[in-house]
């Protein structure tokens, strides 16, 4: 068994024993499963109203939900990734980084043959495997829920879409887990280390996108990315902050993957998500050994 696998296995074992990440993971999978049913309930309500309006002779328009693609019901899942999934990943990351500092076990680890980079890479690998499990479970939950809603198994093509979207989601979550780890390694006080990635998450998911979207915070709760302003100062702000609006790029990418080839794959958005994850992973791997040894001040 390689050292990387040893540390990754230890990370999986230790994370499984922690209550807060377990609760967040369960909540995430449950919300993803519920998302499709929420979509289905919406469809049933709107269709019910439509049938009533049609029966009353008030419209001759076709049922707005009649031609909805099955993947439409996965749309709400995107927002749960941004709202709960990224937060869960950051919490897992910070807990992983704090484990040795809190337990005072860093010296036992660092006096073993593997260097600090291998240890950190192993911890990240463990988190990546854990997140792959969570994303896999939530993708499966989505597949089952959509199959139940539409009354038939999801087609092979749409199943591929779900899997591809799961892959992009995993990359985003690994980036946030690395962000949490970085905070856990570099912030001196334990409480501050726990708060730091949450603040970073709020800035990435809400503050930066708002700067380029004429400050419409509610629109950020939509699963579809908010179009940037094309005039005035917000246009300039959008131009400047666009690359940092990581979660908006994720939404754009998700819509493209889940809802059809007409959109084409937004390469720029894919690059932003990939670069974010790569930068955060790199920042963790470049952490000096002394950071692991620093006991938390709390």
């Amino acid at each position: 068994m390689s050292v990387l696998a040893v540390v990754a296995g230890h990370e999986l074992l230790a994370s499984r024993r922690l209550r807060s990440p377990r609760v967040l993971m369960s909540m995430f999978v449950a919300m993803v499963a519920a998302a499709s049913f929420i979509g289905w309930l919406t469809q049933r309500t709107v269709s019910g109203v439509y049938r009533q309006v049609l029966a009353d002779g008030l419209t001759a328009q076709p049922d707005p939900f009649a031609s909805v693609a099955p993947m439409y019901f996965a749309r709400n899942t995107v927002i749960y990734v941004v709202m709960i999934g990224t937060l869960m990943a950051a919490v897992l990351g910070v807990q992983s980084a704090l484990r040795d500092r809190r337990a005072g076990t860093a010296d036992l680890v660092l006096t073993r043959p593997p260097g600090v980079r291998v240890v950190l890479a192993g911890r990240l690998s463990g988190l990546a495997v854990l997140l792959a499990g969570v994303v896999g479970a939530s993708t499966l939950a989505s597949w089952i829920a959509i199959s139940l809603v539409v009354g038939a198994p999801v087609s092979v093509a749409d199943s591929f879409r779900l899997v591809a979207w799961g892959g992009v989601t995993w990359v985003l979550l690994v980036g946030f887990a690395a962000l949490g780890m970085w905070a856990g390694l570099h912030v001196r006080r334990e409480t501050s280390a726990l708060v730091a990635p949450v603040v970073a998450w709020a800035v990435i998911a809400f503050v930066i996108p708002q700067l380029g979207t004429a400050a419409r915070p509610v629109s950020l709760l939509n699963p579809v990315a908010t179009p940037p302003q094309t005039t005035g100062v917000f246009h300039m702000l959008s131009y400047l902050t666009g690359p940092a609006s990581i979660t908006e790029h994720f939404k754009t990418l998700s819509t493209a993957i889940l809802e059809g080839p007409a959109w084409g794959l937004p390469v720029g958005s894919l690059a932003v998500v990939l670069v974010f994850a790569a930068v955060m992973v790199g920042a963790v791997l470049l952490t000096p050994a002394a950071r692991l040894r620093g006991a938390s001040d709390d």
């Binding site: 068994m1 074992l13 337990a103 006096t111 073993r112």
Partner: protein, 244 residues
């Protein structure tokens, strides 16, 4: 001639402008139990930190088990065991889960058999499935020794191993250290500020004062000059100075 287990030449370490360790020249022969004595803040833990690769020296060089501590750190780490002061573990994991992790990090392919052997050697069986969070200080110290000798190290570093233990725990730990040295042939480097521990356990000692090695020699030679423990205590305060 067997090379020394530990050798340092002009080894120093500074924290900012403060010298934690002044140029240290020291040799510890293989098979010895070496005790490094000194007051709190004398530089004992810094010395162990440098020799276990946890700290980088400001200047000078050192070898452990024949390998350069800076240039061949992985080789050094695979040949040493380390018990820090107030050793801690992953409290949510069981004894075996903790030891299995450290054994695998040390490169043991089949750790479980070795864990059983070591726990039997330490007379610490029957706690395998217990979580470390439920262990007393004395039990943790034994687990600390277990993790340090799992991979059969050539040199074992112990930083204040009896700190916080009750008299029974101190005696047990002393017996374990002597057995490790005698039965496994492991060289032991032990930090302590307890003279009684040094006289009962060590074969040679060094005394650090403000980061400087002020006395170094075999215990027999030092006891020859100071035949009683009381006399040794006087010698200690004479060379190490009174605590601040």
């Amino acid at each position: 001639m067997t090379p020394p287990a530990i050798s340092t030449h002009g080894l120093t370490h500074t924290y900012g402008r403060t010298f934690a360790l002044r140029p240290l020249d020291l040799e510890v022969e293989a098979g010895e139990i070496f005790g490094l004595l000194g007051h709190n803040g004398a530089g004992k833990t810094t010395t162990v930190g440098l020799l276990t690769t946890l700290l980088r020296p400001t200047s000078g060089r050192s070898t452990v088990a024949g390998y350069d501590v800076v240039g061949q750190a992985p080789q050094v780490r695979s040949r040493i065991g380390y018990l820090p002061e107030n050793v801690q573990f992953y409290n949510d994991l069981t004894l075996v889960e903790n030891l299995r992790f450290f054994a695998r990090l040390s490169g043991l392919r089949e750790p479980d058999r070795r864990i059983t052997e070591v726990l039997a050697f330490l007379d610490f069986e029957g706690h395998d499935r217990q979580r470390l969070g439920t262990f007393s200080k004395g039990m943790r110290q034994r687990v600390g020794i277990a993790q340090a000798i799992l991979h059969r190290p050539e040199v074992l570093f112990l930083d204040e191993p009896t700190s916080g233990l009750d008299p029974e725990g101190v005696r047990t730990l002393r017996q374990i250290v002597v057995r490790i040295n005698a039965e496994l042939g492991t060289t032991v480097f032990m930090n302590t500020h307890l003279l009684s521990e040094a006289t009962r356990t060590c074969t040679s000692i060094g005394i650090l004062r403000d980061g400087e090695l002020v006395r170094h020699g075999s215990l027999a030679a030092i006891l020859g000059a100071y035949p009683t423990e009381q006399a040794l205590e006087e010698a200690y305060f004479e060379t190490a100075g009174s605590p601040a």
